[in-house]
Amino acid sequence: MSERLFIKGNEAVAMAAIEAGVRCYFGYPITPQSDIPEYLSRELPKTGGTFIQVESEIGAINMVLGASAAGVRAMTSSSGPGISLKQEGISYMAGSELPGVIVDIMRAGPGLGGIDASQADYFQATRGGGHGGYRIIVLAPGSVQEMYDLTMLAFDLSDQWRIPALVLADSVLGQMKESLVANPRPKADLPPKEWAVRGRGEGMQQNIVKSLYLGDGEMEKFHWKMHARYQELAEKECRWEEVQTADAELIVTAFGSTARIASTAVAMAREAGMKVGLLRPITLFPFPKQAYAALSEHCKHFLDIELSTGQMVDDVRLSVARDADVAFYGRPPGAGSLPTPEELFEQIRKVYP
């Protein structure tokens, strides 16, 4: 039986990476994620893995690109300003169909912003973030346990689909301590990395990992291939959680740390006799459209809550039935902007039909 631990979300991410078999971690210090490189600098070498504190975020993501191209599990982590710098490498990884895990412990922005929890990097995460038109897998944990479980899942999904995977959390989830059951890595039937560069070997084919397509029609063909892959991903890999949605007259929707505060507000509403449910997307890309479509057949009122002026709400509005109404309540990130359950309960009362 796995032991029960009491640890920080960032440490859970680092533990999960080791359990998932990460061989290389490349990172750069930035608050509020520095516990991840600190933990891995101590623990990863003990497993024979490589830890490098890199000169820059750009260097770090490109080392991930190299290690991943060589066929091993590789990872980096950062927060807003650093994730922006990594977008170049993420675009090249997406263009080269390379797996790899990036952990984003969101902080307030734009610019230097601040170190408080934020969800304002939803667009950056779910729309690709870099140049060229691509998507990456985005997983949004809501607890320390999920920081652990979804980090392991990120490695599996990324390897399976040959798409970089981003674990999108925030400073609340990264810094808070909760109990964790450190489960062993789940068994996954993953394809061999026959495309990796490892030295071609005698009589073997040359392997080339690249994103340059100059031949007539090659680039277009690549885009349609990836488009089909993203569609298949959306069919097979969407994950979400529903709480008391069956009879709900109003469905609150939020992800990550906001969903935790919202779940308390939903419980308060139930206590007050209101039929309110919660829909929490766990995959942000692919976005669980089907859950919104199905629920909005019967429930016509939604309330989307985010730590921003509204980003995910666009996806929610695109996913619900046309006659469903989507209200929005946002607290843009910054010191003192984390909403209380009472505050969200008040918003529920306002829009409850």
């Binding site: 490589t50 750009i58 080392m63 690109l65 190299g66 590789a74 030295g199 040359q206 690249k210 340059l212």
Partner: protein
């Protein structure tokens, strides 16, 4: 009849797309010969960069990973750390290595990464059409220095072989040229030393190869080749700047 000259096995039997008089082909050949002679082709991984040098995989019959502009030393670090049993080299131009990739090259060198860097310095951005590079010479006219490189405005050209030789992680740093048979023979020795040092696990090895870019210099191949000897070598002296052979 005894065959005395042939294509190295590490090179593919393909037509070159490089311009007439370009030195990339000669430098490719020296790297391929070194691979053949050490018998390492099957466990060598090339890290291509951005510019004319990206087409590495079209000529070398080895595994290659393409790197973003300037990042080849970081990509090579990832490859080598993931697979320490392989031989890893980057092949980069001057804009790639000495401008946008300055951070990556200096830190990979300083960590003493067990990789080999082939740096082709032709004093210009070749693929984008002959703009001013970090190694463009004082007074040299390019498409973005139409009045000639002005040291006051643009700084002086980087001398990378000298600069990197100051870092403790560097095991070998040399500047070579391929503008004459004598220099080609010297260059071959240096390239072999660089790969041998990697095979021996000595740390970072660096070759700066002066090269002609007739097209973007607006010159015919012969005068361009002549310029390497007349103008470049006096400014970028050939030689070994760091050698840890006897350390």
């Amino acid at each position: 009849m005894k065959q005395v000259f042939s294509r190295p096995a590490s090179l593919k039997d393909v037509q070159t797309h490089f311009c007439p008089g370009c030195h990339h082909g000669t430098i490719h050949r020296l790297v391929a010969e070194a691979m053949d002679e050490f018998g390492i082709r099957d466990r060598t991984i090339g890290c291509a960069s951005v510019g004319c040098s990206v087409f590495l995989y079209g000529y070398f019959d080895i595994d290659v990973v393409e790197s973003p502009h300037g990042r080849a030393p970081a990509v090579a670090t990832g490859v080598k750390r993931a697979r320490p049993d392989t031989i890893v080299f980057t092949y980069q131009g001057d804009g790639d290595l000495a401008a946008i990739g300055t951070s990556e090259i200096i830190h990979a060198a300083n960590r003493g990464e067990d990789i080999t860097v082939i740096f082709v310095n032709n004093t210009t951005y070749g693929m984008t059409g002959g703009q001013m590079a970090p190694t463009t010479m004082p007074g040299q006219k390019t498409s973005t220095s139409p009045y000639g490189r002005d040291i006051k405005n643009d700084g002086a050209p980087f001398k990378m072989a000298e600069l990197l030789s100051n870092l403790d992680g560097v095991a070998y740093s040399a500047r070579v040229a391929v503008n004459s048979p004598k220099n080609v023979i010297q260059a071959k020795k240096a390239v072999k030393t660089a790969f041998r040092y990697q095979l021996e696990g000595r740390g970072f090895s660096f070759i700066e190869a002066l090269a002609a870019c007739p097209t973007n210099w607006g010159m015919n191949p012969l005068p361009a080749n002549q310029r390497v000897g007349d103008e470049m070598i006096p400014y970028f002296p050939l030689g070994t700047y760091k050698n840890t052979e006897n350390l």
